[in-house]
């Protein structure tokens, strides 16, 4: 096998992008879970505009639209290929989350069933992103100089 033309910077960048995706998904979860507990639209965290942008990018990536940030496209490609997750489930899940957030913002009350489905979907998605992070982390630190703590 020849030399792999990828630098540590590329691996770090990919890990960072994956972490950002899981972080924004966590932000969505925190907002929806808090709303579920309080039924108050102020439960939405200040990060909601970033989350919505992320959801739009995610939906565009899953629909394979042009002008989608490549990072998101690749992370999903990695999820779909490596983790064999179902693309349609992801599309439906994110659409549902998007609708729930939009309704809350408009002062409407989303159906409880939709909120619960969204929360479950977000929890599952966080785990999927974390699995990808773990894989990338192992690759990055495969021969690190220091003994890396593995939690």
């Amino acid at each position: 096998m020849g030399m792999v033309m990828e630098s540590a910077a590329d691996h770090y960048r990919h890990l960072g992008a994956t972490s950002l995706c899981s972080g924004l998904t966590i932000e969505c979860l925190l907002s929806l879970e808090k709303y579920r507990a309080t039924r108050n639209s102020s439960a939405l965290r200040p990060t909601i505009p970033e989350c919505q942008k992320f959801i739009q990018n995610t939906l565009a990536a899953l629909k394979e639209e042009e002008n989608t940030p490549y990072s998101i496209k690749r992370i999903y490609r990695e999820l779909l290929t490596r983790k064999k997750v179902n693309k349609e489930d992801f599309l439906e899940g994110w659409k549902n989350v998007d609708e729930v957030i939009s309704k809350i913002q408009k002062g409407e009350e989303p159906e409880e069933r939709h909120i619960i489905l969204s929360i479950k979907f977000l929890m599952k998605t966080i785990s999927e992103f974390n699995d990808i992070s773990e894989y990338l982390e192992k690759k990055l630190y495969a021969s690190s100089w220091f003994t890396r703590e593995l939690l």
């Binding site: 096998m1 020849g2 030399m3 792999v4 033309m5 990828e6 630098s7 540590a8 910077a9 590329d10 691996h11 770090y12 960048r13 990919h14 960072g16 992008a17 972490s19 950002l20 899981s22 972080g23 966590i26 932000e27 979860l29 925190l30 879970e33 808090k34 579920r36 507990a37 309080t38 200040p46 990060t47 942008k53 002008n67 940030p69 490549y70 990072s71 496209k73 690749r74 490609r77 990695e78 290929t81 490596r82 929360i119 479950k120 929890m123 966080i126 785990s127 974390n130 992070s133 773990e134 982390e137 690759k139 990055l140 630190y141 021969s143 690190s144 100089w145 220091f146 703590e149 939690l151």
Partner: protein, 417 residues
């Protein structure tokens, strides 16, 4: 799913809380007991230490935000585990990695990089050189923007603190560090910083390279198949940095690239164009700058290595000619073109003869030797000598003396102004 706002703290939740505490204790102990004594080379050593200390404070003060008692215990546990294991732990290990693996970098290499970056007309920007064993090719990125900030998005004070911070890290390998002639490969890394911070030529043509909001277009596909058009922004950026290196420093970059990385490629990478295509563009640029002999030499050597048909047929980025044109114009405006002249060729001969005899090359024939002249002349040293440790040490000494002289002259001119 438990009732929202469940007050109980599950065992799992307690476990992750204690892990956060453990990590933060390690971080604090590192700041108190180790950081003050680390001798990190380079002029941004104190900046890095301050960044590490301040980030600890910011992470610590952001932790409450993820422990909302109104959330269900299940969600709290999931968020805590995710944030602990994949965010705080990643950030802490990255910081530790940065601090530890920047220690063994020769300070001469920092002088070299400072000198090269200044010659490229780059403005002050904090950077560090880090050793890596996990990759064979050097690379560069702003660790604050692309790594730490994404890790810490759920810890808002830390995330916001990093918004205006920069810390470029140049990842390099032990083999490059050991061989000063290969330091020329890092000219390309300095070009990456210059392009991102100042020129911003490539992102005009490929806006996806801009952070959006902090999800840049850069990435790597790893072993996953990817459409080749998605590689084009990265390839365009790499081509721009190759051309900047070639225009500013002459054939040495192309020679070192060839010597270290020319191989029969079996696959294409999303991060870099095929090596033979890069060498072809570098040769064309060398020719344009008057380095016909070096251009032909690099071309001939590259042709000896076969290229798979599917790689030969891979297109170059759509706007690569426009990008090269803009780079040329910018370099001309900045007055940093390094053109070949008959006098320069004669000078290389004199310098390389002295190098062959391990004779000092600070001043040759009454004229100060420029760092670029020294690097390019060193390519013409006899191959056997070039591989010897004596020559490598000697060349490192010469680089140190030349950069020290330049620094002294700069200091003197600052005083007189």
């Amino acid at each position: 799913m438990p009732h929202p706002g469940s007050p109980e703290n599950s065992f799992e939740e307690q476990l992750w809380k204690s892990r956060i505490q453990g990590i933060m204790n390690d971080y604090e102990n590192f700041i108190k007991n180790d950081l003050p004594y680390l001798i990190i080379p380079g002029k941004y050593s104190e900046y890095l230490k301050k960044l590490i200390r301040s980030l600890y404070e910011k992470i610590n003060s952001s932790l409450d935000a993820i422990e909302d008692p109104e959330l269900s215990s299940e969600v709290r546990a999931l968020v805590l585990s995710g944030v602990t294991r994949y965010k705080i732990s990643h950030a802490w290990h990255t910081i530790l990695d940065m601090a530890q693996n920047t220690l063994d970098i020769p300070k001469d290499l920092y002088f070299f990089m400072d000198s090269i970056y200044e010659r490229l007309g780059g403005e002050e920007v904090p950077y560090f050189i880090k050793l890596t064993l996990t990759a064979l090719v050097p690379g560069t990125l702003d660790i604050c923007k692309y790594v730490l900030r994404p890790f810490l998005i759920n810890l808002r004070q830390a995330f916001d603190y990093l918004a205006n911070k920069k810390a470029y890290v140049i990842f390099t390998t032990p083999s490059i560090i050991k061989n000063p002639i290969d330091w020329a490969l890092l000219i390309h890394e300095a070009a990456h910083i210059l392009e991102e911070e100042k020129l911003q030529i490539v992102e005009k043509f490929y806006p996806e390279l801009q952070s959006e909001p902090y999800l840049g277009g850069h990435n790597l596909a790893s072993t996953i198949m990817f459409p080749v058009e998605e590689a084009m922004p990265n390839w365009a950026l790499e081509i721009a940095c190759d051309i900047i290196s070639t225009i500013s420093c002459g054939p040495i970059f192309g020679y070192r690239l060839l010597d270290n990385f020319l191989q029969e490629e079996k696959e294409i990478y999303e991060t870099h164009p095929p090596i033979k295509k890069r060498l072809e563009l570098i040769s064309n640029e060398l020719e344009r700058c008057g380095w016909e002999e070096a251009a032909s030499d690099i071309r001939t050597k590259a042709e000896r290595v076969p290229i798979a048909d599917f790689i030969r047929k891979v297109p170059l980025p759509q706007y690569y000619m426009e990008i090269i044109g803009d780079v040329r114009e910018k370099m001309k405006q900045e007055g940093i073109e390094y053109q070949c002249t008959p006098e320069l060729n004669t000078r290389f001969k004199v310098i390389s003869e002295r190098l062959n005899d391990l004779k000092p090359c600070i001043t040759v024939e009454g004229k100060s030797v420029d760092l670029k002249d020294l690097l390019n002349a060193s390519e013409h040293v006899e191959d056997k000598l070039k591989e010897s440790q004596e020559f490598k040490d000697f060349l490192a000494d010469m680089i140190r003396l030349l950069t020290a002289r330049d620094l002294y002259q700069k200091y003197k001119s600052t005083l007189s102004n």
